[in-house]
């Protein structure tokens, strides 16, 4: 069987037509995980028993004619989402013993849609990283070249879908953690508007930036899964009470007449030549389909990385103060006193990059430095937001590369945090402004996938998905699979 060559949407249609059962589909993917995962390290936990039980339930539901387009389709969740009764590690030693007592809203909703849980995917520790090398469970390998990183922080989800050991997976994106790994592994990585998807049960990193989304094979898959997980949730006070459109129904909208803005600042010196050429060619192809293209300047956007590396660590230092070795998570052995318990539990439980960000955040929030760093960064965030607002008064979407280079070698950037942070130079802006954005495969550079990033105004998910879908109807980059996994 070649079930893994089908997209999630195609599997859903196959199940609805009773061409195969969810149990068959699930067994197929579990067997592929067993074969490929040892080399890729994409999964932290494989929930085989749970998956087969889910699949049986889905088959019964389909037999009653009660299924939806995702009923019986397997999914993998990033290990940042709480899953009842299942290890939820967030890629950290701190939570290596944490069995979640409740489900994240995202998990609950995809479960209700009838999706089958294959397992939990590896990730950068607490989602802090751009290469999946900071995980307590070791680095994830890119299936396109196992000497390379898959990107991060949702690197396990990306590697799992790229290798087709899972048809689709969830991710989270605080500074590019869905789009960048999506680009580096040839996937459609979709980050919705801040507030579109509930953050309840999603372990917090930087709460004004974190947003859940999808790593998928196609815009259609992203539309289906996003539609099932989005919507208001009273348990997340930042979730927005706006109705969720039928994203799948909106996919067919033509791109003729679409006004595209090219972000000038995204085509500077740091952009690798082949990557830039592939992205430019893709934008030209949209022009050929009747879109108009104009170059725009967003002058404050180059400040997005330094802004982010004040705002995100500040929020992380506050969020991660909950890990105190008392109520859950790692506790050091034989603490002398309470202070020793806190310091050693946290010192042992957190990895190097997490500690670096907690300390950066602690510093920029500390007395005497708050105005110079944190308040200043919040003001520059306003300037960046205004740049986007002005741009969207002129154009429907903004386009540019997702990442400055294709996947890089494991270990290449681990010694230099700033070099690593600059991987997210094109993705962070959308997080600071809370905008929806998608990365779609648009070519290869040195044999590795390149992503085209499309950014839209708040709640323009439908438009972004239609643009991505139009592109995927005209090209087959999204159907290419890494050698050895086809």
């Amino acid at each position: 069987m070649n079930l893994h060559r089908e997209t999630a949407a195609e599997i859903g249609r196959g199940l609805a037509a009773r061409r195969y059962s969810s149990v068959e589909v699930t067994r197929h993917f579990l067997a592929r995980i067993e074969r490929a995962n040892p080399a890729l390290n994409a999964f932290v936990t494989v929930t085989a028993e749970r998956a087969l039980a889910d699949a049986k339930r889905a088959d019964a539901r389909l037999a009653r004619g009660e299924g939806g387009p995702l009923t019986g389709v397997p999914v993998a969740h990033k290990d940042i989402f709480c899953t009842t009764g299942i290890l939820t590690s967030c890629g950290s030693r701190m939570l290596a013993n944490f069995v979640a007592p409740y489900d994240a809203t995202v998990v609950e909703r995809l479960d209700a849609a009838g999706m089958v849980l294959l397992g939990k995917t590896n990730m950068d520790e607490f989602a802090m990283g751009s290469s999946n090398e900071t995980s307590f469970y070791g680095p994830v390998k890119n299936p396109w070249d196992t000497a390379c990183v898959p990107g991060g922080s949702s690197g396990g989800s990306a590697a799992a879908v790229a290798s087709r050991i899972a048809p689709v997976a969830t991710g989270t994106d605080t500074g590019g953690s869905i789009r960048q790994p999506g680009a580096l592994t040839g996937l459609t990585g979709f980050k919705p508007t801040y507030g579109r998807v509930s953050r309840y049960g999603m372990i917090a990193f930087a709460s004004s930036l974190d947003q859940a989304g999808v790593l998928a094979q196609s815009a259609e898959d992203a539309a289906l899964v996003l539609g099932a997980m989005a919507g208001h949730d009273a348990r997340d006070s930042t979730s927005v009470a706006a109705p969720v459109p039928d994203y799948a129904a909106g996919l067919g909208k033509p791109v003729k007449g679409l006004k595209i803005g090219i972000i000038r600042e995204f085509f500077g010196a740091g952009l690798e030549a082949e990557t830039g050429a592939a992205v430019r060619a893709a934008i030209e192809a949209f022009r050929g389909e009747g879109a108009t293209v104009e170059e725009l300047s967003l002058p404050n956007l180059p400040l997005s990385v330094p802004t982010y590396y004040v705002v995100a660590p500040a929020e992380c230092s506050s969020n991660l103060s909950r890990f105190d070795g008392v109520r859950f998570g790692h506790r050091c052995k034989d603490p002398r006193d309470l202070l020793d318990l806190y310091r050693r539990s946290r010192g042992e439980g957190f990895g190097a990059e997490v500690k670096r960000r907690i300390m950066t955040g602690t510093y920029v929030l500390s007395a005497g430095y708050y105005d110079a760093y944190y308040l200043k960064a919040q003001k520059v965030r306003s300037l960046i937001n205004d740049d986007f607002r002005r741009a969207f008064a002129k154009v429907d979407v903004l386009m540019g590369p997702t990442a400055p280079t294709p996947a890089f070698a494991i270990g290449a950037k681990t010694d230099d945090p700033i070099l690593m942070y600059l991987n997210d130079i094109y993705t962070i802006g959308a997080n600071l402004a809370g905008l929806p954005a998608v990365s779609v495969p648009c070519g290869l550079a040195g044999g590795l996938p390149v992503g085209l990033q499309v950014i839209g105004p708040h709640f323009a998910e439908e438009r972004l998905l239609a643009v991505a879908h139009a592109w995927q109807r005209a090209t087959d980059w999204h159907r290419r699979m890494p050698e050895g996994y086809a």
Binding site: F328, R356, G434
Partner: protein, 96 residues
């Protein structure tokens, strides 16, 4: 901005993080580099700019009704705790 060992020890203390002797110089270097990198923000003209705390303008934090919505699940939650006795979280003695 160049931090000293003393600065990093102080930050680590505020953050309740034990940093080993071997880690300390690494953090002195990388935290100094990060602060130097974010220093470029100081050149941005922000005199009359309102700071932005979150992306959703006009989104007010809703208040919920003041009523009990959670059931008592302390056993499930405390199953993850490193030390519990009589439904209480145990920590080293604080008061002599």
């Amino acid at each position: 901005m160049t931090l000293t060992r003393r600065d990093v020890e102080n930050i680590a203390h505020l953050a309740r993080l034990e940093i080993t002797e071997a880690e300390l110089p690494v953090y002195v270097g990388s935290l100094s580099a990060i602060l130097a990198f974010v220093e470029q923000l100081s050149a941005a003209p922000t005199a009359d700019v309102v700071p932005m705390a979150h992306p959703l303008e006009g989104q007010n934090q809703p208040l919920r009704d003041d009523c009990v919505t959670e059931s008592d699940r302390h056993e499930a939650y405390q199953a993850n705790a490193p030390a519990v006795e009589a439904a209480l979280y145990l920590v080293p003695k604080v008061i002599e």
